[in-house]
């Protein structure tokens, strides 16, 4: 009898576990689908927001020039404070961003430290690194990216294609799902991409992580109808 009871109990317990797991997974799936559904939609606010915490992901030479071109036409008081992130191996990009912020500070009289911060992020894999060691470096890079994103908790993310932007956007999406922070992710595919998207662009488009996806050549918009064609930024 005892054995029978134990057996019944374990069957009950396993049934309960299965049900619990199924329900949890369903709820997570519903939440993810809701976030994807909600992501592409404009934010209707009863009152226009005053200022939004903005993360700007910089890449090497060409990428950074395009991003700074975009920043030059955005109203800075709306996108403030600004957090600039670049790969730890890239010293030039943050330097250029600092120059832009310094000239802005000279115009407005507000100190750079109050409106902008500059951060470096580890890359998961350097060019030519072996796959074995990159498992370890990827883990480190992911932990570091999570830490940085938790500190910034951006409301707006602007990126245009360096490899570092995918993990950051994926973390932002995770924050949306678990409710840490809702953010709007804007991705501008680099001007260098005429016929094919970059890997970062393709992932953000296909996984619907980017709220708005911009391309600079009409050929790409033909292939990716959800993208907005905006002409050349350079």
């Amino acid at each position: 009898m005892d054995e029978g009871n134990g057996c019944c109990f374990s069957i009950l317990a396993s049934k309960f576990t299965v049900t619990f797991v199924t329900i949890s997974l369903t709820l997570i799936l519903i939440r993810v689908l809701y976030v994807i559904y909600r992501s592409g939609k404009p934010l209707f606010r009863s009152k226009a927001p005053r200022a939004l915490r903005t993360l700007i992901v910089l890449g090497s030479g060409g990428h950074t020039a395009e991003m700074l071109n975009l920043l030059s036409v955005l109203q800075k008081e709306r996108f403030s404070p600004r957090f600039y992130v670049a790969a730890a191996t890239d010293n030039m990009s943050l330097q250029k961003a600092r120059t832009l912020e310094t000239s802005l500070a000279d115009e407005t009289g507000v100190k750079v430290e109050e409106t902008a911060q500059f951060m470096q992020i580890y890359r998961s894999r350097e060019v030519g690194q072996s796959y074995l060691t990159s498992v370890w470096t990827t883990l480190i890079a992911t932990a570091h990216a999570l830490w940085i994103m938790f500190k910034i908790r951006p409301q707006v993310i602007l990126c245009n294609g360096p490899g570092t932007c995918f993990p950051l956007c994926a973390i932002a999406f995770f924050f949306k799902v678990v409710g840490i922070r809702w953010s709007s992710i804007f991705y501008v595919e680099s001007i260098a991409r005429v016929r094919r998207l970059s890997l970062s662009g393709l992932l953000l488009y296909k996984l619907q992580i980017a709220d708005q996806f911009f391309v600079q050549w009409p050929q790409l918009q033909g292939q990716y109808p959800r993208a907005h064609y905006v002409g050349c930024l350079m």
């Binding site: 404009p42 036409v73 955005l74 109203q75 709306r78 001007i191 260098a192 005429v194 350079m234």
Partner: protein, 178 residues
Amino acid sequence: MGDTEDGVKPKRTVFVTVGTTSFDALVRAVDTQEVKDELLKREYTHLIIQMGRGSYTPTKSGGEDGSLAVDFFTFSSSIADHLRSASLVISHAGSGSIFETLRLCRPLIVVVNEDLMDNHQSELAEELAERKHLYCARPQTLNQTIASMNLESLLPYHPGDASPVAKLINTFLGFPDD
């Protein structure tokens, strides 16, 4: 033709730039006699090469007895000055160099690096070549491009504008138009 009154040829510089990395195939190509001969035929007098991290060192020349004067350096903070004083720019296919040159309205030949693994760089150069803003070549076809190019047929590039993107972003976030 093209000579000044005192019989000295006017200085016409060709500036070659490989950007922040290395592109030995391009440096080697401009250092060949074929390319130098074509440049001389086109009445260029000086060749300045920014060779980056490349390992191939071109041969310097003072430009005596009517040959092309050749000089090179690895990196410089005044690339813009070199671009501005050039009569022709031969560049790698990076978008930074391409648009900086086009903005300064200098005739441009972009040479695509075929050794790069993910060769998306040729897309931009080919598209802009189709729109007649520049010439696009490979290291081994550079001399033919110089021989056959017609710089008068190139069209000026009108710089793009980021404000359509800014407008869409503002609308999406619920900021009013202004």
